[in-house]
């Protein structure tokens, strides 16, 4: 068991492990976050981080008091509340199904725990980042799944069929690639009437990002198919009367799986950044729902950077996620090239 885990870590590298941890964390955001993403405290705008302190055998959360509302300065009021673990807090519905109000940790009512500080409405940045990260993960995974299904199928068909089918599909992909992505996204977004629910908006963003993403992949897949089609084992399969589906699914696809896996990991960052860009421009997920992009867009003015620099944390998180995914792609490629079965032919 241990060796298998070790092998897994070796294949995906530290980056993969970290991503897995981050993904799992955000998956359980409702439980791990001390507050809901829309839980406001209007008396604590831009409150700084409130870190629990250890004394008398337990953790305590100091209670902040605003001393200067003009400059938003806070100081500890001297009072404190104990930090509870596995406690009853704000109720939530995990993944929209499980009804509960249990949190990993929480502070009693007048006290408020802010691991990373608060935003303008006194909402906990840490909680919002967890929810926002989940949104980014979900959006990019679904988006990648859609764009890869389209891209791979189009590439396989074009490469295998050749002739006019190939030309038609490739011209189509070129048209899609020629359209400037951001403007297409803004255009698609503006078709949608305002006031639609955030779920709809999520679907639209995902859909429009995937609509752009498939084209470049399909071209590479087509190239791979064409080069593999000339190889002996494919020719042999065709000669022995294998159906096109059999050739594609048993002989071509398995041979590109490493390439596909790597480009999946490498294109996830594009989705994360794409969503962040849209939300930054106010076209993505709308408040109070958090996404990494719209948290970042809150911090863009000079005065916010001055009073609440911690809001830039969402930008740092975006950078970290992108770097980790790129790194994961690298690790997978190295493993694919050198490891067993890297160039295995069926």
């Amino acid at each position: 068991m241990k060796t298998r885990a070790g092998a897994f870590v070796k294949t995906v590298g530290m980056a993969g492990v970290l991503l897995l941890v981050l993904g799992a964390t955000s998956l359980f955001a409702e439980f791990l976050a001390p507050y809901r993403y829309d839980s406001v405290r209007f008396d604590l705008p831009y409150a700084p981080a409130v870190i629990p302190v250890w004394s008398h055998g337990r953790f305590w959360v100091p209670i902040l008091e605003m001393t200067d509302s003009e400059r938003r300065r806070y100081s500890p009021s001297g009072k404190r509340v104990p930090l509870h673990l596995f406690c009853q807090g704000e109720s939530y519905r995990m993944w929209g199904v499980i009804h509960s109000s249990r949190h990993l940790f929480c502070a009693e009512a007048p006290g408020r725990i802010y691991l990373m500080g608060a935003d303008l409405f006194g909402r906990d940045l840490f909680s919002r980042l967890l929810y926002g990260m989940r949104f980014s993960f979900l959006l990019s995974l679904i988006g990648v799944a859609i764009s890869f299904s389209i891209g791979t199928i189009v590439g396989l068909v074009a490469g295998y069929a050749g002739g006019w089918v190939d030309r038609l599909l490739m011209r189509l992909s070129e048209i899609v690639m020629a359209v400037p992505g951001l403007y297409l996204l803004m255009g698609l977004r503006s078709i949608v009437p305002f006031g639609v629910s955030s779920t709809t908006i999520t679907l639209i963003i995902t859909g429009s990002l995937s609509l752009i993403g498939w084209a470049s992949l399909s071209r590479v897949v087509r190239g791979l198919v064409m080069s593999l089609s000339g190889q002996d084992f494919v020719l042999a399969a065709v000669a022995s009367g294998a159906s096109p589906a059999r050739v594609i699914f048993l002989h071509l696809l398995p041979n590109m799986r490493y390439y596909l896996l790597i480009s999946v990991t490498l294109s996830i960052p594009a989705f994360i950044v794409g969503e962040a860009g849209l939300s930054f421009l106010g076209l993505g997920l709308s408040e109070p729902h958090p996404s990494l992009g719209n948290i970042l867009s809150e911090s863009q003015s000079l005065e916010t950077m001055n009073s609440a620099p911690w809001l830039l944390g969402s930008g740092i998180l975006i950078v970290i996620l992108v770097v980790l995914f790129n790194r994961l792609g690298d690790v997978l490629r190295e493993a694919g090239e050198g490891g067993p079965g890297g160039d295995r032919k069926t």
């Binding site: 980056a15 209007f42 605003m66 400059r71 303008l120 006031g195």
Partner: protein, 576 residues
């Protein structure tokens, strides 16, 4: 590999934080000038002016720029709102209250040397402002009962205004700019007036009577004014030091279309004056000493920020929603659910004030302290909703027909503060079971939706207040063109609307100030009881002024510059 990357990232963050922390590395000091006269005033504009024609100017940038170039017959004292003479040296109101005779100041000349006479005044009103072919925005306020004033020149220096009925705000409205007949008559005759004096006109052709002349305008970059040597200051305007007015030699306005860069330029000493939003105060207050400026907090501004509801029965929204909005108890419940103190603390750093009603408390002449005040009282809000037939099921509110109460709240994207306020409204009515979705829209789109297609439910918006309550007629009269909650209505749709209409009709023709105040007091009582507009909060008006300037006095009504021609530049800024 990843570990190293993390370290690099961390270092980046730490270094950027520590750099922003030490903002006091540049320190300015002041070196006195040999004379405070002949200085320059520099500040930034957020946008280009759209026109140099005072009759056509509508947005604030154009009117601000033209304020240096043109004058009216009267002006309003920024200290107490009293009417003071400007081009007119004095006036006499006859006993009927319908006829006012103005005598122009002696020796008034346009900046090209031609004398200004009563015929210019007659031309300005009869041929420009009352000319249906001219797109003059002020025409509506220069009318009584839909009839224009009769303007006649009695001689070169005397002009008589006659109104169909006594018109209380007449003297105030006559602050509109007077235009030169000798230059513009041809354009009016040939029907080209609407394109005359555009921003492409050579600056020396723009001729006014103001303290400054337009010297150069480079679109997107700057506007420069130089002193008008033919300027004759209004009677009674005297500066503390000897010297001809205006004291300044030039005014330089740079066009910087971004508030962040405007702020940075001010901090870098590149402008002398900046209007500050409360959220910018923390950035500025720490730097005041090193950057040689002071922050003048002048108290609540005249603006009004409010929530309003679509009460238009013909609106293309579900009719049951219009029924909620037409219910006074529902509107009052919303008004009681809002915590204005929290709004001020969160959005304006505590630098603001709740708005009690349509007239600002700083307007001491007309404000009625007896208006219904809506303090934060969620229990009362719940009670009012129950009384209005709404029922809570779980955490959701339903009306008596079983419709869930969900509302779209629109506001304009240009103002981040309004969006934040809308989000706070959303969070504050949530405990009542009301679900609000905030929709920020671009201003033009929003005004189309509100005023023409009527496709909106709730609106968070702002209007600039006017000193004379009659200015509110466009909003409050049921046929006013800004009657937001039921625009284009065919007359009043409720008894209280009919009474408001009657009060405005009465108020405009009543000249006795005590009776007039009573009329508008009654209007404020109705307005705050019926709450078609739920007033929210206004920010304090704040200006940061460099210590190099003289002649700066914060006034309750007119900013920090009581009169532009009294501004001096007492010292220069030197980087120490």
């Amino acid at each position: 590999m990843t570990v190293r990357l993390f370290v690099v990232l961390l270092l980046l963050v730490v270094s950027s934080c520590s750099r922003s922390g030490t903002s006091g590395e540049r320190v300015f000091s002041l070196v006195p000038r040999s004379s405070p006269l002949h200085g320059t005033l520099t500040f930034d504009l957020l946008s280009d002016p759209k026109t140099f024609n005072p009759a056509l100017a509508q947005e604030t940038t154009s009117t601000q720029v033209l304020g240096y170039l043109f004058r009216g017959l009267t002006r309003i004292s920024p200290y107490d709102g009293k009417i003071k003479p400007d081009l007119a040296a004095r006036w006499r109101v006859d006993t009927s209250g319908r006829r006012v005779t103005f005598t122009l100041g002696k020796g008034l000349r346009w900046s090209d040397g031609v004398p200004l006479t009563a015929h210019d005044v007659v031309f300005t009103f009869n041929r420009v402002y009352y000319n249906p072919a001219v797109a003059a925005a002020v025409r509506d306020i220069l009318m009584v009962d839909g009839k224009p004033f009769r303007v006649r020149a009695l001689d070169d220096r005397t002009v008589e205004f006659e109104t169909a009925k006594p018109f209380a705000p007449l003297l105030e409205e006559l602050g509109v700019e007077i235009l030169p007949e000798h230059l513009l008559a041809k354009a009016v005759d040939s029907g080209r007036f609407n394109t005359t004096w555009s921003v492409r006109t050579p600056p020396q052709e723009i001729v006014g009577t103001g303290p400054f002349r337009l010297e150069k305008y480079v679109p997107g970059q700057y506007i420069r004014f130089s002193r008008n040597p033919l300027y004759s200051p209004p009677p009674g305007l005297r500066g503390p030091i000897p010297g001809t007015l205006p004291y300044l030699d030039s005014v330089l306005l740079r066009i910087i279309p971004n508030q962040n860069s405007e702020l940075l330029r001010f901090l870098a000493g590149k402008s002398d004056l900046i209007s500050v939003s409360p959220s910018q105060v923390p950035v500025l207050s720490d730097a005041a000493k090193a950057r040689a400026f002071r922050l003048l907090i002048r108290g609540p501004s005249q603006a009004e920020i409010f929530l309003t509801f679509n009460e238009n029965p013909r609106a293309p929204i579900p009719p049951y929603k219009v029924d909620w909005f037409r219910n006074r108890l529902f509107r009052q419940a919303i008004a009681y659910a809002l915590d204005r103190k929290a709004m001020i603390n969160v959005i304006y750093n505590g630098l603001g004030a709740p708005v009690p009603g349509p007239v600002s408390p700083s307007n001491k002449e007309f404000f009625n302290p007896a208006v219904t005040r809506y303090h934060h009282d969620p229990e009362r809000a719940k009670r009012l909703l129950r009384e209005a037939g709404f029922r809570m099921k779980g955490k959701r509110l339903y009306d008596s027909h079983g419709h869930r109460v969900t509302i779209l709240l629109m506001t304009n994207t240009e103002s981040p503060e309004r969006i934040s306020m809308a989000q706070m409204v959303q969070a504050m009515v949530k405990p009542l079971g009301i679900r609000i979705r905030v929709v920020p829209l671009q201003f033009n789109m929003l005004s189309t939706m509100v005023l023409s297609s009527h496709q909106w439910e709730m609106l968070l918006f702002g209007l600039t207040g006017t000193l004379d309550p009659h200015g509110n007629a466009t909003v409050w009269r049921s046929n006013g063109f800004l009657h937001l909650w039921n625009p284009g209505g065919k007359g009043p749709s409720a008894p209280w609307e009919a009474e408001v209409d009657r009060l405005f009709d009465e108020g405009v023709v009543t000249l006795d100030p005590i009776k007039r105040k009573k009329i508008y007091d009654r209007w404020q009582e109705i307005a705050t009881w019926e709450v078609p507009m739920v007033d929210l909060v206004v920010p304090d008006a704040i200006t940061a002024v460099r210590l190099t300037l003289g002649g700066i006095h914060p006034t309750p009504l007119g900013g920090v510059i009581p009169h532009i021609s009294l501004v001096t530049q007492v010292s220069r800024l030197v980087l120490r």
